[in-house]
């Protein structure tokens, strides 16, 4: 047991306790949390900084508005409903189309509008928000992901997670939905995480449920070796989100849309640690390298990351 602890410490792996005590509590001021915890505020903020986000169709704040939901939704063929304060991908419903008054979910099943109303009502009651606070529901543009990921994801939308420390991209991974994750891009729910080389944007091996895999379990295609398009642009958006929120240590979730290119999906003040497994590298050495430096521009931070954080597995 202690042997493992020693080895993974030598590999620079950060545990939950260390992440919380040495990075989140130290570099993330609590007053900035609402900026990332409320996805509506994040959207508005991103727009102010000229960062593209999925278009917001509507927000539902009170139960009464739910009755107008069918009218609201009839304007759009496909959309995503999610809680403004949700965490870990909970409470998200993706609708890909409508037929005869029914909505088609991303997994192919049909739901009546009554069910969607109930889902929204649950969101408003705060069932998915931290501490059960009353919440708002968001209806937004459904991202049509870039065909590059077509063979290595099962329904749902794959997204790119980049950890930013003091505005410097530290580590990245792409999250690929599986059948088990129900089309959600969340590692806890069983999606695949594949490390991405910061320098080149090329995917490395993948991790599924804490173990290393080569192929996508549902499609059977190889996950490693895919070059993510617009990589520099992704890094640039990620690095700029530091100025946006002021959070020293955050996770930036980005998606690649066919039409709009890279979009900022959401920010996370407490990003998970599985990214280390996906990259088969500990975060600690990279974080320490950044702590020793001072940067003056976004460009400088991105180029520092590309020079220093080349994956050892490429």
């Amino acid at each position: 047991m202690f042997g493992i602890a020693k080895k993974i410490r030598a590999a620079g792996v950060i545990g939950v306790n260390q992440r919380n005590a040495d990075y989140i509590l130290k570099y993330n001021s609590r007053r900035f949390y609402p900026l990332v915890d409320d996805k509506i505020r994040t959207k508005l903020l991103a727009k102010k900084f000229g960062i593209a986000v999925p278009e917001l169709y509507a927000t539902i704040e009170i139960q009464r508005q739910i009755n107008d939901l069918p009218k609201l939704l009839s304007l759009h063929d496909d959309f995503v409903i999610k809680p403004a304060h949700g965490s870990q991908g909970e409470g998200i419903t993706v609708i890909t189309g409508q037929t005869r008054g029914y909505f088609r979910k991303s997994d192919g099943s049909l739901v009546a509008s009554e069910e969607l109303k109930f889902q929204v009502s649950n969101i408003l009651s705060g069932i998915y928000s931290l501490g059960g606070q009353p919440d708002k529901a968001i209806v937004e543009y459904r991202v049509k992901f870039d065909p590059i990921f077509e063979h290595i994801s099962y329904r749902g939308v794959p997204d790119v997670r980049i950890i930013i420390f003091m505005g410097v991209p530290v580590m990245a991974m792409v999250r690929l939905p599986t059948q088990e994750s129900g089309g959600k891009a969340n590692l806890h729910q069983g999606c695949i995480g594949a490390g991405v080389d910061i320098a080149t944007g090329q995917t490395l091996h993948a991790v599924w449920k804490n173990s290393v895999v080569q192929d996508h379990p549902d499609t059977g295609h190889q996950v490693a070796g895919v070059i993510i398009p617009h990589w520099d642009q992704l890094l640039d958006i990620a690095a700029r989100s530091y100025e946006m929120t002021g959070l020293g240590y955050q996770g930036v979730d980005l998606v690649m849309d066919q039409k709009f290119g890279p979009l900022l999906l959401e920010l996370n003040a407490r990003p998970g640690l599985n990214i280390q497994i996906a990259n088969r590298e500990g975060l600690s050495p990279r974080l320490i390298k950044i702590q020793e430096k001072k940067f003056s521009s976004v460009r400088e931070r991105v180029s520092f990351a590309k020079e220093n954080f080349r994956s050892i597995y490429v």
């Binding site: 493992i4 602890a5 306790n17 260390q18 804490n210 088969r280």
Partner: protein
């Protein structure tokens, strides 16, 4: 920087807790273990006299608190007498007064005394002592002066003087001055009296000590006497019977001087009967009673000063920090997942009241039925708050039903189901269904069994006799727990469950 700050704070709080605990243990004699016993003695005096219709004033010598002796409890029983206690000449007296009394008068005094075996022979320093009159006159005085002069020549200091004098008084030849003083009476009381008188003639302050042998179960106990003389600022005991500078073993030093135990004015035939019985008192109760009678601001802060019912509440509450500390370890060092942060501790508290087996059974029963009902409610598409309210109401119904049915079946254990924290139960049911829906039954069962496991551990920690005793008797020891918890707040090492999780990264595939 923060690390250092926390470390210093931790150390400070820990040492404070340790110091206060140590003080309570060493200075106030609170025992470290629950079953230590301390010797305590019950002394009972039955005093009587015959009054003759005139005003009566009686005075009874009472034992008093000195180093090593504590009076834990005392009672007087007397009919129609005015009572007052007074400290004079290093003695404590009880005065009983009545304007008019007739016939045989009886009263009782009872005291519970604890004699600390360690401090028994330590005398306090007292320089304010001056020689007193010997009370001798005429030929007795001359004889005493001659004896003292001859011994003074042969002795080096007060101690040798006392020893020489004592041996000469013990073996008097019939014609000597010693026998004159003793007047042929060799009873130890008289020897002591003469010793005091001659020492006073030699200008060595001395006094007679009246004591009681502390033997288990003795009806009509006899009083004994020895002396104390002043040497180098302290009262040194000397026992003429043994010739040692020590008071007799297991004796209570009661009062000084030649006054009798009971003296009366306005009445005749004073009589006293003394009974002694030994008892093994729980050492904690001795310490707590000692604390009540002593004016120590810290020992009066003991919880035992509270009303019994409140004490019971704190007996329970004070174990909660232990459970919470365990929870912190299980969550932050081991990495177990539970429903709600402190839910397992509350469940453990409930288990305490219901007994473990019944508790687990009843809890599972309520949880299971509650879950079934919650799954049914899912179909009705109710709003969150009314839905939660429904679950709370259903849970209360369930508990009532269990109580009634089990009581009818003659199984009164089922009644204790009422002690479960209802709202906590309802929240657990709700959280569990959400996890069940979102992440599948496996995750829900993992979390619920994790919570159960933690609750079990907390239960064992919180019901441990030692833990319960310590938190109640040494509440300041919880400061040490606080310090450790503070320290854990800066624990940045791996959680145990992270080791297998990150094992891939250890490079040893």
């Amino acid at each position: 920087m923060k690390q250092k700050h926390v470390f210093i704070l931790c150390l400070f709080v820990f040492l404070l807790g340790l110091g206060l605990t140590g003080y309570r243990w060493l200075e106030l004699n609170f025992p470290l273990l629950p079953d230590e016993t301390a010797p305590t003695w019950r002394i009972e005096i039955q005093a009587s006299f015959e009054a003759k219709g005139a005003p009566v004033k009686a005075s009874l010598m009472l034992p008093q608190e000195t180093t090593g002796i504590s009076i834990l409890d005392e009672h007087f029983v007397s009919r129609g007498y005015g009572l007052s206690t007074e400290k004079t000449d290093g003695n404590r007296r009880l005065y009983l007064t009545k304007r008019q009394a007739d016939g045989k008068q009886t009263f009782w005094y009872q005291a519970l005394i604890y004699q600390n075996p360690i401090q028994e022979n330590i005398a306090t320093i007292d320089y304010s002592v001056s020689p007193r009159s010997s009370g001798l006159s005429g030929i007795d005085l001359i004889a005493a002066q001659e004896i003292s002069r001859s011994i003074e020549r042969a002795s080096a200091d007060n101690r040798t003087f006392v020893r020489l004098l004592s041996s000469r008084l013990k073996n008097p030849r019939s014609t000597t001055k010693e026998s004159l003083l003793l007047s042929g009476n060799k009873r130890s009381r008289s020897v002591s009296k003469v010793l005091v008188a001659v020492l006073r003639v030699a200008r060595i302050p001395a006094r007679l000590v009246n004591g009681l042998a502390l033997t288990p179960d003795r009806r009509s106990a006899r009083l004994t006497s020895w002396i104390e003389f002043h040497d180098e600022g302290r009262w040194v005991p000397f026992n003429p019977a043994t010739g040692l500078f020590q008071k007799p073993r297991d004796h209570l030093s009661w009062w000084h001087g030649e006054e009798p135990l009971l003296s009366v004015i306005g009445a005749v035939k004073p009589k006293t009967e003394i009974a002694v019985s030994g008892m093994l008192f729980s050492a904690f109760r001795v310490a707590q009673k000692e604390g009540e009678t002593r004016v120590d601001p810290f020992s009066t802060l003991s919880l035992s000063g509270l009303p019994i019912q409140t004490q019971e509440v704190y007996r329970l509450l004070l174990t909660v920090p232990i459970g919470i500390f365990l929870l912190v370890i299980l969550r932050n060092v081991i990495g177990l997942r539970t429903f709600g942060t402190f839910m397992p501790v509350l469940i453990a508290l409930a288990f305490r009241q219901t007994d473990l087996l019944y508790g687990v059974f009843l809890f599972s029963l309520v949880l299971g039925v509650g879950l079934l009902i919650r799954f049914y409610l899912e179909h009705l598409k109710l709003l969150l708050v009314p839905r939660l309210a429904c679950i709370v109401i259903v849970v209360i119904f369930l508990m009532t039903l269990i109580s009634i049915v089990s009581y009818k079946l003659g199984w009164d254990r089922g009644l204790s189901v009422a002690l479960f924290p209802i709202v906590i139960l309802a929240m657990t049911i709700e959280r569990m269904t959400v996890v069940w829906d979102e992440r599948g039954p496996k995750e829900a069962l993992i979390q619920v069994s994790g919570s159960f496991f933690v609750a079990l551990l907390c239960f064992y920690a919180m019901t441990n006799d030692f833990v319960e005793y310590w938190t109640f008797v040494f509440p300041e020891a919880l400061l040490m727990i606080l310090a450790l918890t503070l320290g854990l707040g800066r624990y940045t090492g791996y959680r145990l469950v992270e080791l297998p999780r990150f094992k891939v990264l250890s490079g040893s595939d």
